[in-house]
Subunit: 349 residues, 2 copies
DNA sequence: TTGAAAGCGATACCAC
DNA sequence: GTGGTATCGCTTTCAA
């Protein structure tokens, strides 16, 4: 059986409380006592039982991280940073995948209330039916990603602005027929074309709607026509989906001047489809992405994309989470992390 | 304050034990009693305290997953599967990054012994100085990846065989001067060239050594000369590292017929470097990878690579872990998951 | 079938 | 400074 504080206390000839004091190092302990205790700790190879500590303290020392789809390189980057930066604060990270199912988000919040995690970083896909909006006492939660709420703290980027600027950038490069890839897809029904314009009440992820808005704003500002045919819908932001849909699109549509893909992952699929179709990039069709994942610097050709400081993004999320964990009644705050356009060969003229 | 079993019991007019019985559903409870309890549970919005449960049961219901570098798409795929498949078994997943530091591996094992996780899936980079080899009572641990030990259970692929087959495949395609990218790098000292042959006592990761061995075996079997100049060392398996090293290599070496990159991530960097240097793939130089990450199907051109059933890989790891968690004295087992060569355009003749 | 009470291990309160 | 001791919330003998 593993050693407990009691065993250590007995061996060191002190009380459990003293052992605890030594371990947590808050109260002053006489050096010679400390010495004895530490020796006993080492001798018995003492490891504290974190469940017991958690029970007593009401804190587990862990936070939860819930992302819609862990499979994507983007998720890997977020996870990497959360784990690294949380570790610096002495927090462990429990990871979850919501797969865009609100049900899973509920489970997570409940887990947080079950004291298994002290806080939760949640990337909701669609807040309308998301768990956070339900009334009731919430654990410490920080939302990452752009959704419209002010119930809990949030860190986001300006999706509309970024999409507008990217579209504008493409226009400035001289491209005119600019397609958007990843616009909201009709969830059910006659989705034969796979294209649909997002309106206020159109289903789809928040980011998809916002980026579509920015795209349209830029077109309008430049006096370019809004062509619904150029909004290519995707029900899931995956390379396989993008490759399939873009490939099919190229078969029966005139090739656009440029594709503005709503994530780099989509762009990877699009590049693949264009290559398969024998369309030169950027010569016959330019391609831009969004997120600036690490891999996008090494695609062929390198990808123009929207960059934001992911480390600061995550750091902010942890800051906000820390605030809420320390003070349950802290005002929800919203942090917007700046972004910028990174222009690479995929949109060169 | 949150409701406890006691509160629920009081409200339902029963004892805590009965509430517990209802919650865990093991013992038969009279339907009308159950009804009352369930109503009370709902009314008080009861959520069990998992720390308390963990303390009492000695199990937390969570497993740990420790990967060397969470940043990679490969890590994302593993994490995705572990989270999904563990969830099916009712396990939560705590995630960690070892960054190839044995120190972190130690911390994790200690965390496992601290009852925060019931088991640990560990992907060690270099077992020689890895924590698992230290004596002492180990928690349930399963190793993923090819390292040489029989202390704990392990799931792996045949790295030597796969590398041999891939090299052979390239030879069969007619390539002769085949370079290997990702061979073990000298840790310190005169690493001016960035190339070094791995020998038995050469430092480097286990996978790097094993894949190098397979590569050499195939060359030898085909009667091709072993040219140390064709073993391109990498200290870290990242696209940026690969792009830099391969780019530099191309400047002062004759371009090989083919590059066998030891991961798809390396291959992505290599493809980028070749594109930058104006070397056509596969026309002037073929490229092959290893792992068949999702993105490799969509690179330009699509990447020939070594595929293995990642889902089965992870499923096996969880099976083995389950065994060890159920029976501490279960014999360590070793599962080897089959692999196959997937030939795509990047090595077409 | 259900109730009473002990105890998992660590910590904080209150004495000394 | 340090020692007893109650307590966190849940589960589980043992009785009834």
């Amino acid at each position: 059986m593993r050693a407990t504080v009691k065993d250590v206390a007995k061996l060191a000839g002190v009380s459990p409380k003293t052992v605890s004091n030594v371990i947590n190092g808050i109260v002053f302990v006489r050096p010679e006592t400390r010495e004895r205790v530490e020796q006993a700790l080492a001798e018995l190879d003492y490891v504290p039982n974190l469940s017991a500590r958690g029970l007593r303290n009401g804190r587990s020392g862990m936070i939860g991280l819930a992302l819609p789809d862990l499979l994507r390189p983007y998720s890997a980057e977020i996870t990497h940073l959360v784990v690294e930066l949380a570790h610096q604060r002495g927090w462990g990270v429990q990871i979850e995948q919501t797969a865009a199912e609100p049900k899973r988000e509920f489970e997570l919040l409940s887990k947080a209330r079950a004291n298994l995690v002290d806080g939760l970083i949640l990337n909701p896909v669609n807040l309308d039916d998301s768990a956070v909006m339900t009334a009731g006492p919430l654990p410490a939660v920080v939302l990452i990603g752009d959704v419209d709420q002010d119930v809990v703290s949030q860190v986001a980027i300006d999706n509309v602005g970024a999409a507008r600027e990217m579209t504008q950038h493409l226009i400035e490069q001289g491209f005119r027929r600019i397609a958007a890839v990843g616009t909201p897809e009709i969830p059910r029904g006659a989705s034969g074309t796979g294209r649909v314009g997002g309106t206020a009440d159109t289903p789809g992820t928040a980011a998809a709607r916002l980026r579509t808005t920015g795209y349209r704003e830029a077109l309008e500002a430049a006096g370019l026509p809004h062509d619904p045919e150029l909004e290519i819908g995707l029900d899931r932001w995956s390379p396989e989906g993008a490759a399939t849909v873009v490939g099919r699109y190229l078969e029966d549509h005139e090739t656009p001047d440029a594709l503005f893909c709503f994530t780099d992952t989509i762009a990877a699929g699009a590049l693949s489809a264009l290559w398969t179709a024998g369309v030169a990039v950027p010569g016959d069709c330019a391609v831009a992405g969004f997120d600036n994942i690490l891999e996008s610097q090494y695609t062929v050709p390198p990808l123009t994309t929207v960059d934001f400081d992911r480390r600061q993004f995550v750091q902010s999320a942890l800051d906000l989470l820390g605030e809420r964990m320390a003070d349950k009644d802290a005002q929800p705050r919203r942090v917007v992390v700046p972004h910028r356009i990174v222009s690479r060969a995929s949109t060169a003229r």
